[in-house]
Amino acid sequence: MQTLKTWLIRNPIWGFVVLIFVFFSFANPYFFDLQNFQNILVQTSTIGLIALGMTLVMINGNIDLSVGATVALAASLAIDIQGWEAFANWGNWAILPGVIAGLMSGVILGAVNGLIVWKTGVDAFIVTLGAMLGVRGLVFAYTEEQSFFAMNFAYSDFGASSVAGLPTLAVLFLLFALGTHLLLSGTVHGRNTYAVGGNREAAVNAGIRVGPHMLINFMLVGFFAALAGITLSTQMGAATPNLGREYELWTITAVVLGGTKLTGGSGTIIGTFGGVLAIGILRNGMNLMQVPAFYVLVILGTILIAVLFLDKQLTRGGKEELRT
């Protein structure tokens, strides 16, 4: 009981997740249903995958605003390339080069961002804000404004498939979340992520190569964004150049809700997972409850702020606290 309490105080977002879960379970007959939980997991997996990478980058004290555009680029590449003449007689294997190209594009874009941040010393916010526009430009240049459709239904079947009774996409997300959690909490790279974000000077003095380190995390978030783009495109069997608009904002929101500090140095995957779920459950619950579109916006915005407020109340030091 005591450990549960301290755990909740450290991850207040999970308290909120439980709260809305209970609320929607009682408020809507369709909510508490295994199929619906699977839907929620699949629906959150897109933002969720990006958020995994974003958590790393943000613990580093950086940020990546270009993930939304990367989602679109990777999805477009994956779907377009699998339809190329060259792979016409590869059968289902034709999907592979597309997916690899999509993932590579994310990793490369991440590397570009990371390299610029490292070498020029320009703030990651502005580097990736530029990239957010520029990469979207690349998407439109590449697709010539067209949407792509996956001729091979095996591709979209993958998006709808299950393993062991769970949707494949949800399993994929859970596995990557576990992997990232282990990376962050148990490996040297993960621990250095905290050091670089918590005290860059200390990290430099300790001989951590901060530049390459940040580069790797940018490549990781690029990879995750691309992967999210690809899993999303398997759900649609298609890619559109406007895919992923505003995802950067929702991802960052989820990550911060999960307790990662914008200034870097702290955050966990468990928290991020909670943040992602909170947004996913809210959206799903409000759809099921038929909240009118205009009010969804107001409610979502208000709840974000309310969660932040509650979090603050929970972590407050009490009356004796220094009032600064």
């Binding site: 649609m236 406007n242 959206r283 759809n287």
Partner: protein
Amino acid sequence: QDDTMTIGITQNNVGVDSYQTTYEQAFENAAAELDNVDTIVLDAGGDVARQIAQIQDLIQQQVDAIIIWPTNGQAVVPAVRQAKQAGIPVVITNSNIAEEGFDFIASFSGPDNITQGSRSAEIMCDRFKEQGIETEAQIVQISGQPGYTTALERAKGFEDRLPEVCPEVTLVETQPGDWNREKSQRVMESFLTKYDDIDGVYAGDDNMGVGALNAAKAAGRAEDITFVGATNFAVGYEAMGRGEYWGSIYQSPVDDAEAALQTAIDVLNGAEVPFLNYFDTPKITQENMEEFDKPVF
């Protein structure tokens, strides 16, 4: 089957412009008048992924029929297929989905954007012929938000038709106005700086058309320019009345919404419905505008 039917709709992006909002209201009003119809009205906010999630949520609730205003004609196909597999008929409204999805839908109901584009080209061309400048006229195009089906189809219809009717008119440049009047006004201002001779502007909707008109008026060059838009908005209609704006395409969101709802009901009642259920979107110009009511949006 009990006697009330539940129809779910997921719209593209309500609130982005009055057309969609009016559509939504008309849809709800029409449904409210029918005792045996319940509706679930959702909005995808322009995001395909969210729309797919909404389709899944509607399937989850086992609605009787789903109406989809696709954010993207191709991306919704697998979700539509899921609905079909769940035994729920799907009606597509306003802009069609890709042909690959035709097998999974019951019907499409809405305007034909490609035809609209061609009609705008015809309006423009006829006007130039009246003015006798069809051999030398230069026009610019301000298109809708890049990557959205409606924007693409209207531009395509216009660009394909124009050389057929007026082969010597040149379309010198196209830039997106993002369905935004202010953005369109900015784009037009740059066009006016760049080109000394502009005879016509084709805008993807009247909202943007009026933005372009604003810019031209500010530069004192509105007199020489023929403005043609699409989706006749009230502002466009009024500008037409003042003789500043030449023509547009008349498209009623109320018709659009009612047609979609009726189609869905017909499908559920087992009635025969045409697969492509286009409703008419006539040309409107300064010359024939009295035949039309002022749009309510």
